[in-house]
């Protein structure tokens, strides 16, 4: 895994207009990278037509 550098976090902080200490920003970067990494990996299985609202239909169809 490549190490992330603070500038990208600084950009994100600027965009979100939140005051976060540098040390906490580094912690957050690691946490966000972990979550984003999982979602990105899993999202490779998604197709163009997959949309959020499909979940309710899956539950209805999947009822025994």
């Amino acid at each position: 895994m490549t190490e992330r550098t603070p500038p990208s976090d600084a950009v994100v902080r600027a965009l979100q207009d939140l005051d976060i200490p540098e040390a906490r920003a580094v912690e957050l970067a690691a946490e966000v990278e972990r979550l984003n990494g999982t979602v990105r990996a899993e999202a490779r299985s998604l197709t163009f037509g997959d949309e959020p609202a499909a979940h309710a239909a899956v539950l209805e169809r999947g009822a025994s």
């Binding site: 957050l28 970067a29 984003n36 979602v39 899993e42 997959d50 979940h55 309710a56 025994s64």
Partner: protein, 476 residues
């Protein structure tokens, strides 16, 4: 037989409801008995954020007067209940366990409270919870930590901490909680009672203070499957005020319980796939519960499990993003009014790109479809732990205290087997199945196909008819 006053709180919900309906006791007597027990236990457990003695007795007297006129509102007529402090009632404060909402008076009444009122329930107070339902342990820096009914040094489990502890200590006959990652199942498991997280859309979320709109599930906590069924029957079903509710009929949840044979029921287990993650004491109790289910006629077979960590992280992405969006105004204006760990839990949501959040939502459907097709293809239910370790102490899990990696590691394990099913939206129930050497409850979890609440409760009822773990009453 007329129940003695001292014994009243020890009855199950369905028993006290029948005793009131048949005139063997009154709503006032049941309420007074609960209030007396609450007075004795509250200093030890801190289950309640607020106790409404006058309101409860007035409501109970009104229910008795109605009954005297021959009018019974419904199956909960005169039954004392209390709920996690997050279900709005017009003109009343619901704190959500937070300082932010300490004085927030609701402008409307939640559908859930309306349905319980309509069924005749008496509300005796508002129950403690983790701040904004964020946290699986029951720690609360604003209202004091709620404690385990069986051992005050241990966690009650969160976030519906008061609901689990109060029902276990026989302070009320049942309670509602909400579950975004474990919050009904975990406090039920930690306190030796039954907690049901229904299918997403089975129960309205209208007027419930949100943790994550997409993953919040409101569900009942009670001593028995039958009592959970009674509560669920009242609160389930479509609600025009919550467009995410399903229009699928709820059906009769109680009638199937007459059948206590589990012949033909197929239960999946993960085999060795999760063995390394389970404490030996917990594993032993889980194994024993399977033997009981088999003896009742169920077939048990090993099924493939998906990567639960991936499901966990996708769920976490959704929770953090939605929480960040809803808390942003307060986090900007009043950050000091949040508990440290709650603020920290939310913060990451500000930094997750919208595309990642949307992909996480898109993944719900595909991951659920895959889970049903692969893990549940040849079984009706999946058997898993709730809490894979013995119930930890408050100190071992105090993330606002000394903290450290050991604390983070313990807390991280707590919801490993529960949160995935919030992402998938599948129904899941926590069932007491024994006690560890220290005397704390152990529970197993059954996960069903969508809208299989009746089957889940039928199986748990059969299990409870054959066991007595849920009959152990904590002592003060």
């Amino acid at each position: 037989m007329t129940p003695r006053l001292d014994d009243l709180p020890l009855l199950d919900l369905s028993e006290v409801a029948a005793a009131i309906a048949e005139g063997r006791t009154t709503a006032v007597a049941a309420t007074e008995a609960c209030l007396a027990r609450i007075e004795a236990w509250q200093p030890a457990l801190n289950c309640f954020i607020a106790i409404d003695r006058e309101g409860a007795l007035a409501a109970a007297a009104a229910r008795d007067a109605e009954l005297a006129r021959g009018y019974r509102r419904g199956p909960l007529h005169g039954v004392p209940l209390a709920h996690k402090d997050m279900f709005l009632r017009k003109g009343r404060v619901s704190t959500g366990g937070s300082l932010i909402l300490r004085d927030a008076v609701a402008a409307t009444t939640s559908t859930l409270m309306e349905r319980l009122d309509g069924a005749g329930a008496v509300e005796v107070g508002r129950l403690n919870m983790s701040e904004f339902a964020a946290g699986p342990t029951g720690h609360n820096v604003h209202y004091g930590h709620c404690r385990n009914a069986f051992d005050r040094a241990h966690i009650a489990g969160g976030s519906s901490s008061g609901s689990g502890a109060a029902v276990a200590a026989r302070l009320v006959y049942g309670a509602l909680g909400s579950d975004t990652g474990a919050s009904v199942r975990l406090p039920a498991a930690a306190n030796g009672v039954v907690g049901l997280k229904p299918t997403y859309g089975r129960v309205t979320r209208h007027g419930a203070i949100a943790r994550s709109w997409s993953l919040d599930h409101v569900g009942p906590i009670a001593r028995t499957a039958r009592d959970c069924a009674l509560l669920l029957q009242v609160i389930a079903g479509p609600d025009p005020r919550d467009p995410t509710t399903s229009h699928r009929p709820v059906g009769d949840l109680l009638a199937p319980m007459e059948d206590t044979s589990l012949a033909g029921i197929r239960i999946g287990v993960p085999g060795d796939a999760i063995a390394g993650a389970i404490d030996p004491e917990v594993a032993s109790a889980l194994e024993a519960s399977l033997r009981v289910l088999e003896k009742l006629g169920a077939g048990v077979r090993v099924v493939p499990l998906p990567d639960l960590t991936a499901l966990f992280h996708v769920a976490e992405t959704i929770i953090k993003c939605e929480a960040a969006a809803m808390h942003r105004p307060w986090l900007e204006a009043r950050p000091q009014d949040y508990g440290k760990h709650v603020r920290l839990r939310i913060e990451a949501g500000f930094h997750i790109p919208a595309t990642q959040y949307i992909d996480a939502l898109r993944l719900r459907a595909t991951m659920t479809e895959r889970f049903l097709a692969e893990t549940m293809a040849e079984v009706d239910l999946l058997h898993l732990p709730v809490l894979p370790i013995p119930v930890p102490t408050l100190e071992e899990t105090d993330v606002d205290g000394a903290g450290g990696e050991a604390v983070v590691a313990v807390v991280g394990r707590i919801t490993a087997f529960t949160r995935p099913f919030n992402l998938l939206g599948l129904p899941a129930v926590s069932v007491p199945c024994g006690f560890c050497r220290k005397g704390l409850p152990i529970a197993y979890q059954l996960v069903g196909r969508p809208f299989a609440e009746a089957l889940l409760l039928r199986v748990v009822n059969a299990y409870q008819q054959a066991t007595d773990h849920h009959r152990k009453v904590p002592v003060l």
